[in-house]
């Protein structure tokens, strides 16, 4: 079984629990926060991945982190379960999959908007509205700026890309000219 399949299986089980407890977004936040905290701490990552350190010590470390982050009992138990199953290194993938499942459950689409020049608030709102109208789902936008686009906007929703940049249009024109 591939690592992605394992992560998806854990995430799916967790989202089912979260839906039942009506805590989908809470667990999403906690899982993402803990995963980020663990990844940012090289010392904690090294300690947890060291096979020479006893599992009790690792458990104490995780409990300390969980306590400091104020994580709910369900997520806390889930993290400790991963430790017991020696699959804690799947945590970041599980968090990513969980977010996808959570968004799907909540009817949310996450999109990235890249613009040649900074967009105004109204333009971002218009873009969000347009994308929500097109997809029929709530869209959460992540906005970025890339001057190499020269002009225009590029949006990416999952695997789908809507490219309205001058850079891409110039590339298409060059391709057409080369083909004659």
């Amino acid at each position: 079984m591939s690592t992605n399949a394992i992560a998806r299986r854990y995430a799916k089980a967790l989202i089912q629990i979260a839906v039942g407890q009506k805590s989908v977004e809470l667990y999403n936040t906690e899982l993402a926060g803990f995963s980020q905290a663990l990844a940012s701490s090289a010392e904690a990552t090294a300690l947890l991945s060291d096979p020479g350190i006893r599992i009790e010590l690792k458990r104490e470390l995780l409990k300390e982190m969980i306590s400091r982050l104020g994580i709910s009992k369900t997520i806390s138990d889930f993290i400790l379960l991963l430790l017991d199953k020696k699959r804690l290194y799947f945590l970041s993938q599980i968090a990513s999959c969980y977010r996808s499942f959570a968004d799907e459950t909540a009817g949310i689409l996450r999109a990235t908007i890249t613009s040649a020049l900074p967009l105004t608030e109204s333009q971002v709102n218009e873009l969000r509205s347009a994308l929500e109208k097109t997809t029929g789902k709530k869209v959460v936008l992540e906005v970025a700026t890339d001057p190499s686009l020269i002009g225009g906007v590029v949006s990416r929703i999952g695997d789908k890309v809507l490219d309205g940049s001058i850079r891409t249009q110039l590339a298409k024109i060059q391709e057409l000219l080369q083909k004659g």
Binding site: L127, I150, G164, A171, I173
Partner: protein, 202 residues
């Protein structure tokens, strides 16, 4: 062969010789006797004549005896037989030589004919080989010419494509440089509006 026959003495000739000699002697004796009558010489002359006659007869007898003793006749006959045998052998050799000559001539004629046929066949083969080589050379030349044409055409097409690509690249690069310097916030706002319209239209 006639000359050889002419050189050999005839049997009748051999008997004729002493007879003629004897006749000549009688004639001479008669003449001397007549002269004796006319002149009425003495008996001494007659006696001398008789002595001479006697000598001649003796000589002729010795001669005939010697000839018989020497078996001239037999020898001549043997010689003639040998010569005839030699003639027959020579004739046979001649005929054999003529037969061989004819045989060799025939063989030579046949060989010459075969040589002519072989020469004609070789010439024919050579002609066919020449035609085949020329045809093959023509085909090779045609193939090379076509390949050269195709290669030239491909080179032209590739050069044209490269030129077109380079032209397009330069044109787009020029356009990009111009746009990078000339796109304003208003243009960007217009691009965003157009983009939103396209997204809404789906």
């Amino acid at each position: 062969m006639k000359s050889l026959h002419g050189k050999l003495p005839n049997r009748s000739n051999l008997l004729l010789l002493p007879a003629i000699s004897f006749g000549l002697i009688l004639f001479a004796t008669t003449c001397l006797a007549a002269e004796t009558v006319h002149h009425a010489d003495s008996g001494a002359q007659l006696k001398d004549f008789l002595y001479r006659l006697f000598n001649f007869a003796l000589l002729a007898g010795i001669l005939l005896w010697a000839m018989k003793k020497a078996n001239v006749k037999g020898r001549l006959a043997g010689r003639r037989a040998e010569v005839a045998k030699a003639l027959r052998e020579a004739e046979e050799i001649k005929e054999d030589a003529e037969r061989k000559l004819a045989e060799y001539s025939e063989k030579l004629e046949k060989a010459s004919s075969e040589i002519d046929e072989i020469y004609a066949a070789i010439k024919l083969d050579g002609e066919a080989e020449k035609n085949r080589i020329i045809a093959a050379a023509n085909q090779a030349a045609e193939r090379i010419r076509r390949q050269a044409q195709v290669s030239a055409q491909q080179e032209i097409q590739q050069a044209s494509a490269r030129l077109q690509a380079e032209t397009a690249r330069l044109a787009v690069q020029l356009a990009r440089t111009t746009l990078e310097q000339s796109v304003t916030q208003n243009d960007q706002d217009r691009f965003v509006d157009e983009y939103i319209s396209k997204v809404v239209e789906g």
